[in-house]
Symmetry: C2
Subunit: 118 residues, 2 copies
């Protein structure tokens, strides 16, 4: 956490760009479709401007406010909005859309900018 060193200057945490996509499949019960989308996400992870990526499925937690209907959570960090724009326009991203978009019924996206602390 910043500010622990009393007397030291405060250093603002670095701003990071979070891109979180929830994928909802047309056939959520199809293991074949799930495996295919996961294959696509693993290819997409190779876009070089991605700083960090987390590919997840719904956790066991279950409360009314928790959405558990998506098939995959695709969460990436970028160092800047420019890096995320490069990702959106990258040939690997085009290929992902072209080859796998037929699998999903909808996506929900949250793009958020702010400091990261660890």
């Amino acid at each position: 956490m910043a500010g622990l060193g009393a007397g030291l200057p405060e250093v603002a945490p670095k701003e990071l760009f979070v891109h979180h996509v929830l994928f909802y499949l047309k056939n959520p019960g199809s293991e074949t479709d799930r495996a295919k989308l996961l294959e696509g996400l693993n290819k997409l992870a190779k876009v070089p401007t991605i700083r960090m990526v987390h590919i997840g499925t719904p956790a066991a937690t279950n409360r009314a406010v928790i959405d558990r209907d998506y098939a995959f959570s695709w969460l990436c960090f970028f160092d800047s909005p420019a890096d995320e724009e490069t990702y959106q326009k990258h040939p690997i991203h085009d290929e992902f859309r072209n080859n796998y978009a037929s699998l999903w019924e909808k996506v929900v996206i949250y793009d958020a900018v702010g400091p990261k602390r660890s």
Copy 2:
């Protein structure tokens, strides 16, 4: 990325628990309410089992599939589901709910488990 070292054994990436909360304010135009919720989130960030936290606001990206209506994105990583459960039951979390829940109209939560790669 795993598997780059040909001939080396594959090491499965570590599973991490992602907890992503989107906060929608009752008074989204109130700078006072926004500042108060941010104050609460900064206190909440002190729960010791949080491995990493990112506090964000909507980025400038704007497409139909991108939700830009939330006031704050609260994204944390935990080393395990047990660590996330500890966070949910921590006194700092209780205090957060007690002191700040009146500010939001709703929250949307995604809990996802899977490997992280950087």
